[in-house]
Symmetry: C2
Subunit: 234 residues, 2 copies
């Protein structure tokens, strides 16, 4: 595997206790995130203006939920209990959703699109630090959800009809990003094993501060690109 | 195919306009029923006492929803539009759910179990009147949902802990069956093609009144057996 300054070689050894705990944490937070995303999407689907729109959002929701089983299975392979693994993240993920309840159909669409995009970008960044089997699983959780054409189409049509909508949704996108960062920081502060996966350990290279900064810049730039696809300022 | 008095030979010809309309109706009502069952299960999952219980109910919900796509595809093969096909049934199915909103976790479990069982029994009865491809699809929509072990286990444990629960849930089961029959009768009265599928047409044998009565008896008996499995009087 080619190495770059930002992507150190991965320890392939799932026996390392710190690595095992980090993976259990990571899969736990992804799995709990998927369960909540599922529930919220189904809730938001109630705001759908038409039955076809509702079916589209419910389809997105089920794709999220279907991944939970694979994530749980891998947690068990690492000797963890899936529900114990998810529990440390309930407060942060629930808080994210409590602070970002969409007020209407469009806010729900943007939350689905932006939230899914952010999660995919983060998973892609962290995948480089994982053993091949876990990496494939995490990468697979990013496939088949974006439904970006559907969301972009609906949001652009909504703004064309009511241009004031654009300003409100741009603010909404910024709020989503802000809340996501607040909760991510809280999780990083609370879960040492998980943050050590990124920052390295005694026998494992990690990201230095400059590399962490570049990763943060990439996540922010991709968020801005998604907002631009929707016709919105980031 | 062996014929019995209750199961007349099926016209294999999907060209018959009355048959086509009947199948479009049937798949439309099943698909809309699945969409609503999905939404209600996810709603009921919020009442789950634990996260594993919630995940179990959400899994049942997604199994229901996944079938919608196959039903829609077959409606298109019959020249119908899936959303037009579902729309005549929205009022009845929505009314069923509006009149049977579960008050707690146990009522939600029983509704899922009894509703799914009734739908499966009805589909199994009507499958005999369908062309092979549609029949296989309708039969497939009954697979993999019952989750009966989970529901039976939870309900029996609940009653063991609070015996008064049994009386309330028995009443609830009767109310579910009553509401289902009211809405089924309304649909049969409104949708001539669909009822003609059961009652026969000029060139197609159907159920006479005695055979319809026997079918009704079978559905009621199976409902009673399910209630007994839960430890409840029907």
């Amino acid at each position: 595997m080619a190495e770059t300054a930002d992507v150190p070689a991965v320890s392939e050894a799932p026996e390392d206790p710190a690595y095992r705990q980090a993976v259990i944490d990571l899969l736990g937070v992804i799995a709990y995130g998927e369960i909540c995303a599922f529930e919220r999407l189904v809730e938001d689907a109630k705001l759908a203006p038409t039955l076809p729109d509702k079916v589209e959002l419910a389809t997105m929701a089920c794709v999220e939920f279907d991944r939970v089983h694979g994530l749980h299975a891998r947690i068990r392979e690492f000797g963890g209990d899936p529900f114990d693994a998810m529990s440390p993240f309930r407060e942060s993920v629930d808080a994210f959703h409590a602070h970002t309840a969409p007020a209407d159909w469009y806010e729900g669409l943007i939350k689905a699109y932006v939230g899914d995009g952010l999660a995919s970008d983060f998973n892609r960044e962290i995948a480089a630090y994982l053993d091949p089997t876990t990496r494939d699983l995490v990468v697979a959780t990013m496939e088949g959800t974006s439904h970006s054409e559907f969301v972009v189409d609906r949001v652009r049509a909504g703004i064309a009809e009511d241009p004031r909508l654009g300003g409100r949704l741009a603010l909404w996108g910024r709020r989503l990003m802000g809340e996501a960062l607040i909760q991510a920081q809280r999780i990083a502060a609370d879960r040492d094993a998980l943050s050590a996966l990124l920052s390295g350990g005694v026998d494992r290279p990690g990201l230095d501060l400059a590399a962490l900064g570049r990763m943060f810049t990439r996540l922010t730039e991709r968020h801005a690109a998604r907002m631009a696809d929707l016709g919105l300022e980031a």
